[in-house]
Amino acid sequence: MSLTNETIQQKLTEKFGDALTDWQQPYGMLTFTAPKDINLKVLQFLFDDEQLKFRFLTDLQAVHYPDNTGAELAVVYHLHNLVDNVRIRFKVFTDINKPDVFSATALYQSANWMERETYDFFGVNFVGHPNLIRVLNVPEMDYFPLRKEFPLEDQTRVDKDDEMFGR
């Protein structure tokens, strides 16, 4: 008996009602959006449910949508049910001025560094994280480099001394 996307969607809708929105299946992976205050409840339900068993956190990171006012940052979870070999993805949107999202470290040890990385690059503040400090960048850094307001250097700029640095 394999677990289908429809079953997962049905079970989640039974439990959380209309709170979960934006159901999609890009390239076969069930994707949905949850309000940020119930992200842990969704994770816990997916973890505990005897049929769903999403007990492996594959990946956790964020995306910045500067035009999406009030919900600029999306934290994306990729979960994996290793028994039935089904993956799902769910997103939590948060305001960039108050980027508080509950930490998943109590459920998954692996969330520790993944959340630190997400904090490091996007500034998502994971509430309840035991040690939320930068992991790859220097501690003195005072900005979050993967946000879209930091464009990469324009390759065509001319005000740089090419003789010294070359192009």
Partner: protein, 406 residues
């Protein structure tokens, strides 16, 4: 005393010794630091610091065409660059809807399994070096050289390979490549057997590694372990079997699993995986030889919109020139959407999460680097053990700094 040296509070009174293992220590085999609190030689506490070679690949990728991202993937796990390259190509192909011919799949499998062998042989022989047995390293290292010669024959470079393209390879494999492959298949098993004779039932090696740095299956899953390290803990998760890519479903092979997840199990699992990889390469080589005539000349997908045409055609053919121009100048727009695609890298599940909003470059690209995720377990693995055990635990986890930092 100059006033810029400030000792931390209580550092004179405390009873443990603080030791900096790394960032550039010969025993760490890479650039990362561990601050150890030692009671005698026993480790009471460890704190890991990473990020010394962070190169912001995810940011750089946001300004690059898909084919320009391949060289970035080289530098993740640089002991097995071809796997990363192919993983990226496969992610792009899934995203763009390109299907590759069987021959391309089999050639890719040959290259991927060769690089899995080259990665595992480094890891296992380094475990030997760290436990005091240098000679096994020398036996196997010459065969990594042969593998690199095969890469060189296929793509022109050795370590950071940038091998293949989206849709296949840049040229067909030469006869020299196949001759070298046959030489490898004929000679490597003997060396690997000799290596195993030296280590597997060696009393000193066993005493040194059994029970060293163990992890239970449950903890390993919670820590997000994948690849040989997870399988050594007893979980038979392998992306090649769970979500076959590149026609792995056409091959017969077994997935070795361990029980205790200690250094010895990791060593055995990697050794057995090398045998299985040899087995897969033999089957793939068999299948490649079955293509005759025009079929034996197929080395890329028939997908001109995404596959970069050969340079010779660009100079002589109108269509090739147009497509070359369109691909290079980024005139071909990507579809809008998102995809997570993963392959079994040498260290575990290597994932690419690609979000596109159309246009020529990804909106966001995230690499799931297995090393980064399982390295967080390191302090727990070495706690309570001896300092020398910490060193071989680190090498048997096969930590690659490039993959940690991305």
């Amino acid at each position: 005393m100059s006033d810029h040296i400030v000792l931390p509070e209580g550092s004179l009174e405390k009873e443990t010794t603080t030791l900096n293992l790394g960032p550039t220590h010969p025993a760490t085999h890479g650039v990362f630091q561990n601050i150890l609190e030692l009671d005698g030689e026993r480790i009471m506490k460890a704190t890991s610091t990473v990020g010394y070679i962070h190169r912001a690949f995810e940011k750089i990728a946001e300004r690059r065409n898909l084919y320009q991202i391949t060289p970035l993937t080289d530098r993740l796990n640089y002991c097995s660059s071809p796997i990363n390259n192919m993983g990226w190509h496969i992610a792009c192909e899934r995203f763009l809807g390109v299907t590759t011919p069987k021959r391309v799949d089999y050639l890719r499998i040959i290259i991927m399994e060769l690089s899995r062998i080259s990665d595992h042989l480094i890891c296992n022989s380094i475990v030997g070096v760290d436990s005091g047995a240098y000679s096994g390293f020398l036996y196997l290292m010459q065969y990594r050289e042969l593998i690199y010669e095969i890469y060189e024959e296929v793509c022109g470079s050795r370590l950071t390979t940038n091998i293949g393209r989206i849709g296949g390879f840049e040229r067909n494999f030469t006869n020299t490549a196949f001759e070298k492959l046959e030489k490898f298949l004929a000679e490597y098993p003997k060396q690997l057997k000799e290596f195993e004779n030296l280590f597997t039932r060696n009393r000193i090696f066993m005493e040194r590694t059994i029970g060293c740095g163990p992890i239970s299956a449950e903890r390993a899953l919670s820590y997000g372990f994948t690849g040989p390290n997870l399988r050594a803990a007893g979980v038979d998760y392998d992306v090649r079997v769970h979500t076959p890519y590149s026609s792995y479903q056409d091959f017969e092979f077994t997935i070795p699993v361990g029980t205790t997840g200690d250094c010895y199990d990791r060593f055995l699992v990697r050794n057995e995986e090398m045998w299985q990889s040899l087995n897969i390469i033999r089957q793939a080589w068999q299948k490649v030889q079955e293509f005759k005539g025009a079929d034996a000349e197929v080395y890329h997908a028939d997908s001109p919109a995404y596959y970069l045409p050969p340079k010779k055609d660009v100079y002589t053919k109108m269509e090739a020139l147009i497509y070359h121009f369109k691909i290079i100048m980024g005139e071909i727009e990507m579809p809008v959407g998102e995809i997570y695609s993963s392959i079994e890298g040498a260290n575990g599940e290597l994932g690419f999460y690609l979000i596109s909003d159309g246009g020529r470059t990804p909106y966001r690209l995230h690499f799931r680097r297995p090393c980064f995720i399982y390295y967080q377990a390191y302090p727990e693995l070495i706690k309570g053990g001896m300092l020398s055990d910490a060193v071989i635990t680190m090498s048997s986890l096969n930590l690659i700094a490039g993959e940690l930092d991305a």
